[in-house]
Symmetry: C2
Subunit: 198 residues, 2 copies
Amino acid sequence: MARITGSNGARTAAAIRRVALRLIYRQGFAAMNLRDLAAQVGIQPSSLYNHIVSKQALLSDLMQEHMTALLTATDAAVAAAGPVLMDRLRAFIGHHVLYHTERRHEVYIANFELRALDPANHARIVAMRAGYEARLMALLREGVDAGELDIADIPVTAFAMLAMLTGICTWYRPNGRLGKAELVALHTELALNGIRRR
Amino acid sequence: MARITGSNGARTAAAIRRVALRLIYRQGFAAMNLRDLAAQVGIQPSSLYNHIVSKQALLSDLMQEHMTALLTATDAAVAAAGPVLMDRLRAFIGHHVLYHTERRHEVYIANFELRALDPANHARIVAMRAGYEARLMALLREGVDAGELDIADIPVTAFAMLAMLTGICTWYRPNGRLGKAELVALHTELALNGIRRR
DNA sequence: GCTGGAAACGAAGGTACGTTAGTTTCCAGA
DNA sequence: TCTGGAAACTAACGTACCTTCGTTTCCAGC
């Protein structure tokens, strides 16, 4: 046997990425091995290399795609919220929570597998992440300047908010006790109450 | 050569744990290898086995010791705060932040290397962690019952608070811009403002 | 209907890792 | 002073991993 009847490059490539996300999420990048990945995709290990450059490049690609998608979706959500600051801040938070429940594998990996990247890839992903953090800091800065928010230290507050909101993807499970809408509402209030002028 | 002049079992064992904490923190458990660990301790790889049972047991021991220390120290800090609820809650938060800046390697590992534990060790550590979370939930429940706190969902709120407070150890560096006392104050206010009755 | 490339296969190379075995040296306690 | 065990050493085993190589098969486009 060699090429399988009905095999399809695009479909296999998509399956590799989908399975890889799940395996890396569950076991970590270093602990994941390409034999398991290939087996779950349904091909031989060597066939992976028709679709990936290397294990490292696979991780790097997954992360880069995720960060690009996150930044794009975030900008769209904030822009759709209109001009009022607190609406935009709510949109940022709500979108963040929603995105982190719906794509928790990608998010978890992007947050906790940075150290598995080689230096060049690491620098690129970290820069994108800094861009995301900068968007939140800019909103906080606006709120402080407008007198609507009371924040002692913008960078630390931004990190704390993101840590809280990102923590969701470590325990969230679909079919859990709370629905997505409730999680969004709950976290939005928690975060905003923490920084609102009183 | 064989046994080195002046070698000392207790000192070597301590060095192994110290170096292992640093390596696992930086690279992750799966990516850390015993040859590097031994080299940084200053012994041969095989000599590690005079002090550890296996790589897995080393991780498990480090985590168990950390969780025991955390629970003990937390209980002491809360008990020392006296009987007033908000004092105890502040003590819990403040102690958490302080502990997480001072022992960020242990904390980070205990939070993010759970999946590297084999099932038996995993169950034991998760149970201890649940105990920690339960302590915070009990304080929140007290606050709600006393009418001092306004919390929509105690478990989710506890997870969110812990995620926020634990996030510190992913970016905190000694000699950073802010001192520990400032971080404690800042995070305490952020967390309490999020849940205080208004 | 042919054909070239895409996409799979089987086999294996080379390395790095955790661990074990057997040996040697030091030192505390008798 | 002698000795047994603690703690180090050297050497190596077996495995698992990422990756490469050469081959085979399918199918889209001419």
